[in-house]
């Protein structure tokens, strides 16, 4: 067991957990932040994507105890009273059906738009599809997800 302290959605949290605890389990079981989903548990599907120190990572492939002092943002921490523009865009463009993949899609997309903006690169529809390679949706066929990301990119 190791006591780990990190900043989750802006608040410092400490928990004593077994060393093999995955970040996804830490968030869901210890902090009850169940917006982060675990789909495949093999790093393929991307439903568990959160931001660690500002970068999108798969929380099912990250050890919680390795993140002492890290800043973690989950889907619950994205809205600030109002929905984040990416959340609004997914709503408006019907970028989801069952919604299981949506938290990971949104966390990946927010990271993607921020990276492209900071690097001054143009985020085309094709680039969005390539960037979403690590996020699997079995409902929508992706078209509306791509439209949502394009729309939100203009508003972020």
């Amino acid at each position: 067991m190791t006591k780990v302290t990190m900043i989750v959605n802006g608040k410092a949290v400490s928990r004593e957990v077994p060393d093999e605890t995955l970040l996804s389990d830490f968030l869901r079981e210890k902090l009850r932040l169940t917006g982060t989903h675990v789909g495949c548990d093999t790093s393929q599907c991307g439903a568990c994507v959160v931001h660690v120190n500002g970068r999108a990572v798969k929380s099912c492939s990250t050890l919680a105890v390795a993140l002492e002092g890290a800043e973690v943002t989950t889907i619950e921490g994205l809205s600030n009273g109002e929905l984040h523009p990416m959340q609004t865009a997914f709503n408006e463009h019907h970028g989801l059906q069952c919604g299981f993949c949506t938290p990971g899609m949104i966390m990946t997309s927010v990271d993607m738009v921020a990276r492209y903006k900071s690097e001054g690169r143009k985020l085309t529809a094709e680039a969005i599809r390539t960037e979403l390679e690590g996020n699997i949706c079995r409902c929508t066929g992706y078209h509306n997800i791509v439209r949502a990301v394009e729309d939100a990119a203009g508003k972020m």
Binding site: T2, P18, D19, E20, L22, D41, T42, S43, Q44, G46, V49, R55, A56, V57, K58, S61, T62, L63, V65, A66, E68, T108, D111, M112, R115, E119, E131, E133, G134, N135
Partner: protein, 264 residues
């Protein structure tokens, strides 16, 4: 995952000490392969030694015409680094094509080559440019480092600290991706650099990454995509699985070599 003890190494010596006395201890960097393997119970280290917090273990610098890439440098950092773009753009584009963005934010160059997955991208890139793998004990030429399927020249208590790549005259990597895993079904790196003209192939060999003599001879005679067209690539010793037969992979090696040369 089985219970384990996590250690954050403060120095290379510290990491070596825990590796030596630990219970089937393993090094942890990005964990993008190791943690998945542990979840499947294909690995069960009692101790994990995280090397990411060791000073100097990550980051990239240029020493003249040589790139020095810290072992714990992520794929995203290699892909976006200006020194890599200047001295060896092949490596930047190779790194940008590994897995997906979230994997690239965590996975590291040292982790990739220490694992030496037969379908990983870095082994082909580093073998083609005759990179040098610097460890806690010695400097290992890429030719001696990659030692077959998931096997390297590393000893049990040896830690990769950096990778040195001398600017090649030209180099390019072309990858035919297995669309589900995003690993290489066949990946070919062609380079004209410190080690001469070299062609390294990943994803295809049943004993991991290898160099192809016929393609190297053809490109040494004439560096052009046409030059590889007449080269016979035998299917002996190539992988055959549900994703592609050995014959299919043999054909892809020639095709991807041609594409790599065209892109160089």
């Amino acid at each position: 995952m089985y219970p384990l003890k996590y250690h954050k190494a403060a120095s290379v010596d510290d990491a070596v000490a825990i590796l030596t006395k630990g219970d089937s201890a393993k090094l942890l960097a990005g964990g993008q392969t190791l943690l998945a393997t542990m979840k499947q119970h294909l690995a069960a280290p009692g101790d994990l030694v995280d090397i990411r917090a060791i000073a100097g273990m990550s980051g990239i610098k240029a020493e003249g015409d040589t790139l020095v890439i810290g072992a714990a440098t992520t794929h995203a950092e290699v892909a976006g680094n200006s020194d890599v773009a200047k001295l060896c753009p092949m490596l930047a584009s190779l790194a940008a094509g590994i897995g997906d963005p979230a994997v690239r934010h965590a996975g590291t160059i040292g982790g990739s080559i220490a694992n030496n997955d037969p379908a990983a991208d870095y082994p082909a890139g580093l073998l083609a440019v005759a990179a040098t793998i610097v460890t806690s004990k010695r400097k290992i030429p890429a030719d001696e480092f990659f030692d077959g399927l998931f096997t390297t020249a590393l000893e049990e208590d040896e830690v990769i600290t950096s990778i040195r790549v001398t600017r090649p005259k030209r180099a390019a990597y072309a990858k035919f991706r297995q669309p589900a895993s995003l690993f290489a079904l066949v990946g070919v790196c062609v380079a004209d650099g410190a080690g001469g003209v070299r062609v390294a192939v990943t994803g295809a060999g049943d004993d991991g990454v290898f160099r192809h003599d016929g393609l190297e001879a053809a490109l040494a005679a004439k560096w052009s995509a046409d030059a590889v067209k007449g080269v016979k690539v035998a299917s002996d010793g190539l992988l055959s699985d549900i994703h592609g037969s050995a014959e299919y992979r043999a054909n892809l090696i020639r095709v991807m070599a041609g594409r790599a040369v065209a892109a160089s």
